[in-house]
């Protein structure tokens, strides 16, 4: 138990150093943290980077797994223009984007 706690503390320390370094070098945060980045064009198109997997997809709802939770996109006529292992482009009439914490 003690070893696991030490390891956790070491990781947190490393992460803290990495964050400070990234802030000093002005590196984009999503690159350092591995967080998803969502770019929205009006209410018609969404470009999502760093998603992990598709959890649910209908024409009214798209739920994606991202780091730290799920990203829920709701609207109507939602279609996935293309996707690869990291990026996805979604088109449709977007009503809401919601981040569901785990």
């Amino acid at each position: 138990m003690g070893g696991a706690k030490q390891k956790e503390q070491k990781n947190a320390c490393l992460s803290g150093r990495r964050i400070r370094l990234a802030e000093a070098l002005d590196i984009p945060k999503e690159t350092v943290y591995g967080l998803s980045c969502v770019t929205m064009i009006g209410d018609r198109e969404i470009y999502i980077e760093n998603y992990m997997s598709i959890l649910e997809y209908t024409d009214k709802k798209l739920r994606l797994r991202v780091k730290g939770g799920n990203l829920l996109i709701t609207g109507c006529r939602i279609c996935i223009l293309y996707f690869n292992d990291t990026d996805m482009q979604v088109r449709g009439c977007i009503d809401q984007i919601q981040f569901e914490r785990r």
Binding site: S53, I54, L55, E56, Y57, T58, D59, I78, C79, I80, L81, Y82, F83, N84, D85
Partner: protein
């Protein structure tokens, strides 16, 4: 993501996916580097497009996820070729067209000059031909830097030149030194200024030399107005020597100009007897004109309007198409009406006077009258002009008196 063109060339299929494991199927596809596109959800099923090469690799994923895949449509070049395999000529024709366009795109089919006003397109074109640059040559053989330096060396007035290949167009942009006025070098030659008119001197302003006439003097053609010899005097006003210079002065002379001009009352007009239109086509330098078979024994006037075909903005083809307009005409002699003829004579007289004024001549008095008879008219009379006189001539040295020489 593959571009649309790439997808069309590789071929893709549109499939319908039914079942509960659709999301898992897409995640597994992503994991295996298979990326469906245009995924649309419709009535519990997903419709998506997938590349043909990937379609053969999703069978195991379909089995694993328990979905059902139905093929809806086949699109792209492989399916097109397969569909039209019995129409070999059509496919071969399309293929040949693509090859033809590719081969055409490797050559230069048009040369465009921009920014030239002093040197005409023909002059620049003939120079380019002399260094081996011409229409139809391979664009890879053109070394733009070498052409630029050759042009700069050959044409003194070109201050900047840029040669670039844009599609099948060779574009030559250049700038010329239009400020060609140079300061004339001061002449070291010694000359007199002699009169080129008969008349009366109105005014004389001498800059260099010795004036030989004054305002009011009557001069004849060839008479020395300003001598290039300047006498040097000592304190006792005795001539001690001569200095020879280039005589220069502004001298205005009043002179008479006799006008005697005959104007015919008839004039000739070309009347078009027949007009024949045709088509002009030139492919790879071989030209052909298509005309209706008409023959007349009249002189012919031919006008051709040619346009070079191009596929895109800078993709010119070695094909020229145009219209040919051939006019057979007959020359007819017409006569002016009396009043019209007088107006015509007056116009000619005004034109002559305007031409004289353009030359810097001032018309002081005009005694020209129009005399007409049955067939022609005459512009006769005298014009009194104020003209600038004086042309350079070799210096006439003064004769040395025998007693002075001793």
């Amino acid at each position: 993501m593959e571009s649309n063109v790439q997808r069309k060339i590789c071929g893709y299929v549109r499939i319908q996916i039914t079942g509960s494991g659709q999301e898992r199927f897409f995640n597994l596809c992503s994991y295996r580097q298979i990326f469906p596109s245009n995924v649309i959800y419709r009535d519990g099923t997903c419709i998506c497009e997938i590349l043909l090469k990937d379609y053969w690799n999703i069978k195991s994923l379909v089995k694993k996820t328990g979905i059902k895949v139905r093929l809806l449509d086949k699109c792209g070049l492989p399916f097109f070729v397969y569909r039209y395999k019995k129409r070999g000529a059509l496919v071969a024709g399309l293929f040949l067209a693509v090859v033809f366009l590719y081969v055409m795109s490797l050559h230069i089919w048009s040369i465009d000059f921009q920014g030239n006003t002093y040197y005409s397109d023909e002059v620049l074109m003939s120079f380019l031909e002399s260094i081996g640059i011409k229409n139809g040559m391979k664009s890879s053989r053109i070394l733009c830097d070498d052409v630029e330096s050759a042009m700069r060396i050959a044409f003194d007035e070109i201050t900047w030149v840029s040669v670039e290949i844009d599609g099948t167009l060779l574009r030559v942009n250049l700038k010329e030194n239009l400020n060609t006025q140079t300061i004339p070098e001061k002449s070291t030659e010694t000359r007199d200024l002699v009169s080129d008119y008969d008349g009366v001197v109105l005014s004389i302003i001498t800059r260099t030399g010795t004036p030989k006439v004054k305002a009011g003097d009557v001069v004849t053609k060839g008479q020395v107005l300003v001598s290039g010899v300047i006498e040097l005097h000592d304190d006792a006003q005795m001539v001690t020597g001569n200095r020879v210079v280039y005589a220069d002065a502004d001298i205005y002379v009043q002179t008479e100009y006799e006008m005697d001009m005959r104007i015919a009352q008839s004039y000739e007009v070309d009347q078009v007897v027949h007009e024949n239109k045709g088509l002009y086509i030139s492919i790879l330098g071989r030209d052909q004109t298509f005309l209706l078979p008409v023959s007349f024994d009249y002189p012919v006037r031919k006008e051709t309007d040619i346009t070079q075909l191009k596929l895109f903005e800078n993709f010119y083809l070695p094909v020229f198409v145009g219209s040919v307009d051939i006019q057979y005409y007959d020359t007819v002699t017409c006569f002016y009406e009396e009043e019209e003829f007088l107006n015509h004579c007056q116009e000619i007289l005004n034109e002559e006077l305007a031409n004289l004024e353009k030359k810097g001549v001032e018309i002081m008095e005009n005694h020209v009258i129009i005399q007409s008879d049955d067939l022609c008219a005459y512009l006769r009379g005298t014009l009194t002009l104020k003209v600038q006189a004086g042309v350079s001539a070799p210096v006439t040295m003064p004769e040395v008196a025998p007693d002075q020489s001793q």
